[in-house]
């Protein structure tokens, strides 16, 4: 056929070429070329494998639609199970050192995914004495060079993911897992960063701590006498804030909930104003811990938004969440540790109440008001 292309063939070539060339002018509507999903769980010397391979890809490789009606049925698929297992197992090598691990019987299932039907293969690779250390992926490497295997490797409770294809077929299972300490350090650092850069959280906490070195007496404040009472008050406020924002942060992240960023940010600005006003016109002077708790719930939603934008590593969500939260706590405790002794030393100065508590709180209220307007109406009020 190729030696003597007919006129009809030439016309087909021309037409399909025109069709093909029109495409750039219309936007692409799907974005991911073919992929299979490979889940490998390492247990000692064995690897449990679940492998989801698109039926469209298997059809292109093997021709599954026997009656040519455009539909692949379970009967048609079942008849080709040996060929499918042969193709798949030739495209995957799990090895311990030089030795290829023996694969057991393949169980065939199917699954519907949003992007089509998938054949699901389950099997065990047995590596004998020692655990597998290498995985090589070559499925469809010649039929579709853009095909990739999206692999998830679970070992000792940790999960790593990798994209495997002709340009990078091999994955080292031993070094594949990132140590959990590295993940934890990353997220803890991000937690600290978020508190220190997002000064609204700090403004809120500092404002609540300003009166900790004082005692409400009638319509006035008097300096507390001992450090013990100051510490109890400060610990109550900080703990309440921490518990509250941990609750909403944890709930929002674990439930995989995304809140609209804007209302949350507006609400956080409002909490700053409320905290500052409570210093100027105290409506809950002795129960600032309660205020810290109630409003801290809102701040937790803000932290959740920040964490959501970072993304959580698959399989280490709890670890990352805990590390991020600890980072947040460490960041705020560092500030408290510097601030509180200073306030304690200053508390008897005559200017503490008018200047630090009064003017300071007024400035924070103003700052919070500016944030509120900025975030609610998308305006630039403050230069930063």
């Amino acid at each position: 056929m190729s030696r003597a292309p007919s006129v009809a063939r030439a016309i087909v070539v021309h037409l399909s070429c025109t069709l093909a060339m029109l495409a750039p002018i219309t936007p692409a509507s799907a974005h991911q070329p073919g992929a299979s999903y490979l889940e490998v769980e390492l247990e000692g010397a064995r690897a449990q494998v679940r492998w989801d391979i698109a039926l469209r890809d298997l059809h292109y490789a093997l021709g599954l639609d026997r009656d040519g009606d455009g539909a692949i049925t379970w009967g048609e698929l079942r008849g080709r199970h040996p060929a499918i297992a042969g193709l798949a197992l030739a495209g995957l090598r799990i090895a311990a050192g030089e030795r290829t691990c023996a694969t057991g019987l393949v169980r065939h299932l199917v699954e519907h995914r949003g992007d089509g039907g998938y054949a699901v293969l389950r099997f065990t690779a047995d590596c004998g004495a020692r655990g597998p250390d290498t995985l090589e992926y070559r499925l469809f490497a010649t039929l579709d060079p853009s095909h990739r295997g999206l692999a998830r490797i679970a070992a000792n409770g940790r999960v790593t993911s990798a994209v495997l294809g002709p340009d990078r077929p091999a994955l080292s299972l031993a070094a594949g897992a990132r140590p959990w300490t590295a993940v934890a350090t990353d997220y803890a650092r991000e937690g600290v960063r978020h508190v220190w850069l997002g000064i609204d959280h700090l403004a809120f906490l500092v404002t609540l701590l300003l009166p900790a070195v004082l005692l409400r007496a009638g319509r006035d404040w008097v300096p507390r006498s001992g450090g013990r009472a100051v510490a109890i008050d400060a610990v109550a406020v900080v703990t309440a804030f921490t518990v509250a924002h941990s609750i909403t942060l944890g709930a929002a992240v674990l439930a995989d909930v995304s809140l609209p960023a804007r209302p949350v940010e507006v609400a956080i600005a409002a909490t700053v104003i409320v905290a500052a006003l409570n210093n100027l016109v105290p409506f809950a002077p002795a129960r600032r811990w309660l205020l810290a708790f109630a409003l801290g719930l809102v701040h937790g939603l803000g932290f959740a938004g920040a964490l959501a934008e970072l993304g959580l590593p698959a399989g280490a969500r709890l670890l990352a969440l805990a590390a991020f939260n600890l980072g947040v706590e460490a960041g705020q405790l560092a500030v408290v540790a510097v601030l509180l002794p200073a306030l304690y030393l200053l508390r008897r100065r005559p200017l503490y109440r008018p200047l630090v508590l009064g003017l300071g709180s007024a400035a924070v209220a103003l700052l919070g008001g500016g944030w509120l307007v900025e975030r609610a109406f998308d305006l630039q009020v403050w230069p930063v």
Binding site: M21, Q32, G70, L143, A294
Partner: protein, 400 residues
């Protein structure tokens, strides 16, 4: 004083906890694999265009080192199938068919043209243009190369170059193709009215054009009408376009956007019922489901998130605009949406790319970040709402 101060917090607190409970309840469980009980259960439907394509093993047998023309024909069919279905795996198959020549620095010109097409679809515009320039150096009058080049220059926002490439098609392609190419550029440079009239005239003169070309032209006419604010004409042309040719997911996606913009999500649900395969259609479906409060919304949003994450892991770039729209309008994450949209804008500059940048920036309260994009749209004179209103909103605020 205490009581009065306490109660609003308590109610706010209860509100937050109620909301959290609602989310906890609404989490979704993924489908589990199973062994079907019946042999005639249909597990997958192949696109009509793919049924006659044969298998890759047949292709490998047909296409030897010496069988260039067979490979070219097969790759062209596969690319056309990918376009109709919006399924990029067919582009990968086409690459596989062209494998013997793919990695050559100077492959045969006909291979280079198809390689350019595949690279373009993957948003590797630099690689595609390099191939096209080589094709045009060898065959200066190659109309297909000029058409593809015009399309790339247009989505890159290189509109003066796109106009020149469209002009090069003159007398090398059917007048309707030339007119459509030029009218698209008109629509982006403040001359949508002229483009509409030009294209309408060309359609009059070509009543029996190739169905795919007809569909493309009518779809362009609909976009121009929408940019001119004539929703009735746009509606009519979209329907004509859908009826004119075979399945085209890009056209379906744009018609769905048109309906969404007009506040007609129920019609999008009907138009895209069951269209979960192509990301672009699933996105529009989820957008409509959110507005109508459909129960399938959460599953579809989660499915899109999984696919965009996979695309990100693979280092792909063609998904950025859709991912930005999902982040902003499905997940309410304007800052994330803005980053994705700006990333997309750096490689792809159509009105829809500008629009999502502006929307995300306004929602994130970072309109400054979108000022260069707004100025770019203004300088080109691109018409159409809501783009113009968004440009006004961005440039009206925070001005020095």
């Amino acid at each position: 004083m205490h009581r009065r101060g306490d109660s609003p917090w308590r109610s706010r607190c209860q509100g937050v906890l109620t909301a959290i409970l609602a989310w906890l309840v609404a989490t979704t469980a993924p489908a589990a694999p199973f062994v079907p009980a019946e042999d005639d259960l249909v597990l997958e439907r192949l696109p009509r265009v793919a049924v006659g394509l044969g298998t890759g093993q047949q292709a490998a047998a047909d296409v030897g080192r010496g069988a260039l023309s067979a490979a070219i024909a097969r790759a062209g069919d596969l690319i056309a199938a990918g376009r109709a279905e919006g399924d990029p795996r067919y582009l990968g198959y086409a690459q596989g068919v062209l494998a013997p020549w793919w990695d050559e620095t100077d492959p045969p010109t006909s291979v280079r043209l198809l390689r350019a097409r595949i690279r373009q679809a993957r948003h590797d515009f630099a690689g595609a243009l390099e191939d096209l320039d080589a094709v045009l150096a060898a065959r200066p009058g190659d109309a297909h190369a000029w058409l593809l080049k015009a399309g790339i220059e247009q989505v890159q926002g290189n509109l003066a170059a796109a106009r020149r490439s469209c002009a090069a098609l003159h007398r090398r392609m059917a007048p309707l193709v030339v007119a459509t190419c030029a009218s698209r550029v008109d629509g982006l440079t403040g001359a949508a009215g002229r483009g509409y009239r030009r294209l309408q005239g060309a359609l009059w003169r070509a009543p029996s054009a190739d169905p795919a070309v007809m569909q493309w032209s009518l779809g362009t006419l609909a976009e121009l009408a929408a940019a001119l604010g004539d929703a009735d004409a746009a509606e009519r042309h979209y329907r004509e376009a859908l009826a004119a040719g075979g399945r085209d997911v890009g056209l379906l996606a744009r018609y769905a956007d048109f309906l969404l913009d007009r506040g007609r999500p129920a019609e999008v649900l009907a138009l895209l019922d069951g269209e979960t395969r192509a990301d672009g259609l699933l996105l529009r479906l989820a957008l409509a489901e959110r507005v109508t409060g459909s129960p399938a919304f959460r599953d579809h949003r989660a499915e899109l998130a999984v696919r965009f994450e996979a695309a990100r892991q693979r280092g792909l770039r063609a998904h950025l605009r859709a991912a930005a729209r999902a982040a902003l309008h499905l997940a309410d994450r304007p800052r994330e949406a803005l980053m994705l949209a700006l990333d997309g804008w750096s490689i792809h500059r159509e009105p829809a790319d500008a629009r999502i940048v502006l929307e995300a920036a306004l929602a994130a309260g970072q309109s400054r970040a979108a000022r260069p994009v707004a100025q770019w749209v203004q300088a080109n004179g691109t018409e159409g709402e809501p783009l113009r209103a968004l440009v006004g909103a961005v440039l009206g605020k925070g001005a020095p």
